[in-house]
């Protein structure tokens, strides 16, 4: 059978192929990626888009949790201070109610109670990073203002709205409690109780009743405050969960799209060997025919 006497195109094609493989392996090594264009691995390329989306959402949730943590902590510590102040007011009230104080001493206690009332008002109007913590969603307006016409001595200027923030897929966390639920709930108003105690001590009537009222309001506040402790706990555990998920997502990205450097290096080396061999074969091939041997 007669052989094709012009094998050069085939040899060149083989050379071209091994050079192409060398380039491809080198690209993987230099970019660190096995999928540099979608046709390298169409399925992986599509999954990498989804993976990137998951990673972005994950880091977004983690970032929000940090923000929320700051907001919740600020509110929680403010409420601690309020509780301390209320306890002070209670002991003052008990002292005033034991009936052994002079009227000037009564006067002194009233003054201290009024200080505490201002302090609680100020604490209730705390803002964090420019926004009022306890006015619901009317964050630009201080929740409480002094109102002489109101029996509680204050007027609530906020609303009852609670904001929810998504901190995971399908996982919503409420991030605030409005003042109307904490300090001025109907029948359990801290402000009403404080005002009543001041009136009672000042007129030395029904101090015990007023102390009981304040005690009950303080307890109520304490129960409402649990919201913040719970929320902070949830922030903590969700952060832990998302940190672990972050690792998984990163691992998936690696398995989908990272170049296997050692096997790419092997491919590169073997493609280079093939290229060298092809070059040598071609160089030996050219130029030899019977004509060289006929004198």
């Amino acid at each position: 059978m007669r052989v094709n006497p012009y094998p050069m195109p085939d040899l060149l094609a083989a050379l071209n192929q091994s050079e192409f493989e060398a380039q491809d392996a080198a690209l993987q090594i230099s970019t660190g990626k096995s999928v540099n264009v979608p046709s390298d691995n169409p399925t992986a390329a599509a999954l990498l888009v989804e993976n990137n989306d998951q990673a972005t959402f994950n880091s977004g949730f983690l970032s929000d949790l940090t923000t929320i943590n700051g907001q919740l902590s600020a509110a929680d510590s403010t409420l601690s201070s309020v509780q301390t102040a209320l306890q002070q007011a209670l002991s003052l009230g008990v002292e005033a109610g034991n009936g052994t104080l002079s009227s000037s001493d009564q006067g002194a206690i009233v003054a201290q109670l009024q200080d505490i009332q201002s302090q609680v008002l100020s604490l209730a109007n705390t803002s964090y990073q420019g926004n009022y913590l306890f006015s619901g969603t009317v964050i630009g307006t201080a929740p409480y203002s002094v109102d002489g016409n109101d029996p509680s001595g204050v007027k609530y200027n906020g609303n009852d709205d609670v904001n929810q923030v998504s901190v995971g897929s399908g996982y919503q966390l409420a991030i605030n409690q409005p003042g109307s639920q904490l300090f001025s709930a109907t029948g359990n108003s801290v402000f009403q109780a404080l005002n009543d105690l001041i009136t009672a001590v000042g007129s030395n009537t029904s101090v015990d009743t007023a102390v009981t009222e304040l005690d009950s309001a303080a307890d109520y506040l304490s129960v409402q405050t649990v919201f913040y402790g719970n929320a902070l706990d949830q922030v903590q555990s969700q952060t832990t969960y998302l940190d672990a998920a972050k690792l998984q997502i990163a691992q998936q990205q690696t398995s989908l799209g990272a170049a296997d450097l050692s096997s790419a290096a092997t491919e590169l080396s073997s493609a280079q060997t093939d290229t060298q061999a092809a070059l040598e074969a071609i160089s030996k091939f050219s130029g030899n025919s019977l004509f060289n041997y006929l004198s």
């Binding site: 094709n4 012009y6 691995n41 390329a45 989306d53 923000t67």
Partner: protein, 461 residues
């Protein structure tokens, strides 16, 4: 004295034939690297014997013809393989360009979509923050710009292909005209019963080049004549007359190919023209249409969600993105962010500045079916898969068809290729035969001198 003179003419015929054989070998060697050359061999036969008495005596050697060795079936197969490979190659180079728009998963349209929803997410605990609102507008803008860029690049690629089509049609016309000219020459030679091998090689080569451009079929019409047409029947060369193809802008703004007033653009099935048209008229429009669907669906969904809430000034939300065109064509190229004031993002569900209630609606767009029943990210990742898969399949097809073409070319080489070794050994043979015939003549010359001088020794000059 017919004996000696007869022998002389026999030896002479040997000289003549050896010379021609040598010339043929020399021609093969000279054309060893000529593209499409088919090696020639000399067909010789013994001359018809004559009867002398009861003996049949030979009359030397006669040259019958110089034959070009080629396989016509192989040529047809090579044409088809060339058409296939050129078609696929043209597609591949365009698709590789196209897919660079979708190359990165950490940047590009997909990442922009993710970042947009992330910016809404960051706004959620602090819905009144102007800085965070601005981030939402910035990420919306990046998404719109990247969609503009992708659509723009595809449109540019498409219009560049119009130039390619026009150029290719020009080349087709110049080749068919050349082929018609060669046909004319071949027909003249064949009618004069002369050897047209070299011209046939040239014709074959031209048809092969034409196969690289368009799907051409060859019909033999007898007497060495051929007709060329596309596989759909459009005439390219009829006898010695070539038909001219023209290009005109069609209703889609692209260059369409016409033959005698008929639009043949969608009927081409091979050659680089078919591949170019496939990408220009099928692949690119498909991707563009999907980008448009994504842009339109996304914009509409975000705008609808914004309209459900209230902005920082307590007013009902308006459009965040520009309204897409009805019918969605051009949605991706023209998508912009319609607002520059960050307070207009309708985060609030009740008009208060600190409410984030409507952000849930805006964020929900990420899991809504905005295009072809898919969420934005799913739609985009499917598009990436589609582009990658098409390109990868065409690439594999190119490898396969290139391999087939190479094999056919090897086969052709084994039949028609010039082997220098073979020609060298032939030349040695022909030289020896020539020397032998010359030697015979010298001998006869001496014998004739003897005969003439009848026994008296004379020197022969």
């Amino acid at each position: 004295m017919s004996g000696l003179f007869g022998t002389l003419s026999i030896a002479l015929s040997g000289l003549g034939v050896s010379q021609q054989e040598l010339a043929t070998s020399a021609n093969n060697v000279a054309n060893a690297n000529t593209t499409g050359y088919s090696r020639e061999v000399v067909d010789t036969a013994a001359g018809s014997p004559i009867q002398i008495g009861s003996l049949l005596v030979g009359t030397g050697v006669v040259m019958q013809k110089i034959e070009s060795l080629r396989d016509p079936i192989l040529e047809i197969q090579l044409n088809q393989a060339t058409q296939q490979q050129s078609d696929l190659n043209a597609q591949l180079s365009q698709l590789q360009q196209l897919q660079t728009q979708f190359a990165s998963s950490s940047s590009g349209i997909g990442a922009d979509i993710s970042n947009f929803f992330n910016s809404l997410q960051q706004l959620s605990p602090n819905p009144s923050s102007l800085e965070l609102r601005q981030s939402v507008l910035t990420s919306a803008s990046t998404l719109a710009q990247d969609l503009n860029t992708a659509a723009g690049s595809l449109s540019t690629q498409q219009s560049n292909l119009n130039l390619t089509v026009e150029q290719s049609v020009g080349e087709v016309n110049s080749l068919t005209s050349e082929i018609a000219g060669v046909d004319q020459q071949i027909s003249t030679l064949e009618n004069a019963n002369e050897d047209a091998s070299t011209l046939v090689d040239q014709q074959t080569n031209l048809i092969r080049q034409l196969s690289g451009l368009i799907d051409v079929q060859v019909v033999q019409t007898g007497n060495g004549g051929i007709d060329l047409s596309t596989s759909n029947g459009t005439a390219l060369v009829t006898g010695i007359q070539s038909s001219v193809l023209t290009t005109e802008a069609g209703s889609d703004g692209n260059a369409h190919i016409f033959a005698s007033g008929q639009d043949i653009t969608s009927s081409l099935t091979g050659g680089s023209l078919a591949g170019t048209l496939q990408v220009r008229d099928q692949e690119i429009p498909s991707v563009l249409s999907q980008l448009d669907q994504l842009a339109a669906g996304f914009s509409n969904a975000v705008n609808a969600a914004n309209a459900k809430g209230f902005d920082l000034n307590g007013k009902a939300g308006g459009n965040i993105f520009s309204t897409p065109p009805a019918g969605t064509t051009g949605a991706a190229a023209n998508m912009t962010v319609a607002i520059t004031d960050p307070s207009l993002i309708a985060a609030s569900s009740d008009g208060t500045a600190g409410s984030n209630g409507n952000l849930a609606n805006l964020s929900a767009v990420a899991t809504e079916n905005v295009a072809s029943g898919q969420t934005p990210i799913n739609f985009y990742s499917n598009l990436v898969f589609q582009v990658g898969n098409t390109t990868s399949n065409v690439s594999a097809d190119v490898d396969a068809s290139t391999s087939i073409l190479q094999q056919l070319q090897d086969q052709r080489g084994s039949i028609s290729g010039v082997s220098l070794d073979e020609e060298a050994s032939n030349i040695v043979q022909y030289q020896t035969a020539y020397q032998a015939s010359a030697r015979v003549i010298t001998t006869i010359d001496a014998m004739l001198a003897d005969a003439v001088n009848l026994g008296i020794e004379t020197a022969v000059q």
